[in-house]
Symmetry: C2
Subunit: 195 residues, 2 copies
């Protein structure tokens, strides 16, 4: 039946090119202005579309940003597997550093962390799209270390925090992070793991 290829009544048909343009514009606006100041008319202008093209896809700024987050944050590739805790922690730390210094992440993440304190829906979206996938990814390597007897199960949570928190804190306060810092933080993190 040729009619099976007709658009079902009531379903919207969206041009993927327009969706991509809006998504890119939304990320750029998020980077430049932050969530609180992000304005739909600026996103529309930047994407070269009318505001209605945005609102047909997402009923609100929050819905749009929640979808956009998914594009910012998926860890790629398998977790490091050097065969030893120290090598894995150093590699995980490098990966977190590379992610946190990506210009888009660097601009957007502190803002999303702050907004999450006021907006539980956004907090859940940040956890779902940004924090949790990276935690699960890193935990794979730490679970292997635990299975090898190199890390107490109780300390996995603390080690996960140390992979990201000190570097995030330094970068958001405009302080430098170099290889020596990451090496020393790795010593410390794996030192306690061995106690």
């Amino acid at each position: 039946m040729t009619t099976s290829r007709r658009t079902p009544t009531g379903a919207a048909v969206f041009s993927p090119a327009v969706t991509d343009a809006i998504t890119t514009a939304a990320i750029d606006e998020l980077v430049e202005s932050g969530y609180a100041r992000l304005a739909m008319d600026r996103v529309a202008r930047r994407a070269g579309v009318g505001k209605s093209a945005i609102y047909r896809r997402w009923p609100s700024k929050q819905h749009m940003v929640v979808d956009v987050l998914a594009l910012l944050s998926i860890p790629t590739g398998p977790a490091p597997d050097t065969g030893a805790l120290r090598g894995d922690v150093r590699a995980l730390m490098q990966s977190c550093f590379d992610w946190l210094t990506d210009p888009r992440i660097r601009a957007v993440l502190p803002d999303l962390v702050a907004e999450s304190g006021r907006n539980p829906v956004l907090a859940e979206a940040v956890a779902h799209h940004v924090t949790r996938p990276r935690l699960i990814w890193a935990r794979t390597a730490l679970d292997r270390a635990r299975d090898r007897g190199e890390l107490a199960a109780d300390d996995i949570d603390l080690v996960l925090d140390l992979l990201i928190a000190p570097v995030f804190w330094r970068l958001t306060h405009g302080r430098p992070v170099d290889d020596r810092y990451l090496d020393r933080l790795t010593d410390l993190t794996t030192g306690v793991a061995a106690t």
Copy 2:
């Protein structure tokens, strides 16, 4: 001369009670709405004054917030001095935890950290009023540990980060911090210090 007590021509005379009311209102608005959404007319309404009373004191929202920050952040009392690194680090960590869980700090700090990435004047004000006084305060205790040979000079910076960054990261992601966590983080922090 009685004229010496006259107000000098051109100098503004501000009622301290009004200044206090505006300052309190500004902090409350910062806690509720964040820096980006903070509106001067809401601060005025909350303080029970006209907007001109605010603008006579501060030419802009940024000037007002910079002044208000000074009230949020002075560490009180001397730095801990238990005579040993572990005791001092645990006490410093508790003090950072208490500060970060103060409801006003908890609401305002992540927002100021995020805004600092876009606003160098605010970043400098946050460093001057919020970060630096606490760093100097904590460093007093760590310098004593260094003088006792318990801590390498090169590691002081890393230990300062560990006093605050992991707890800040967990709290802003809605994850719990308990005494066991702080104890274990202290073990780790002082473990590397002893290497």
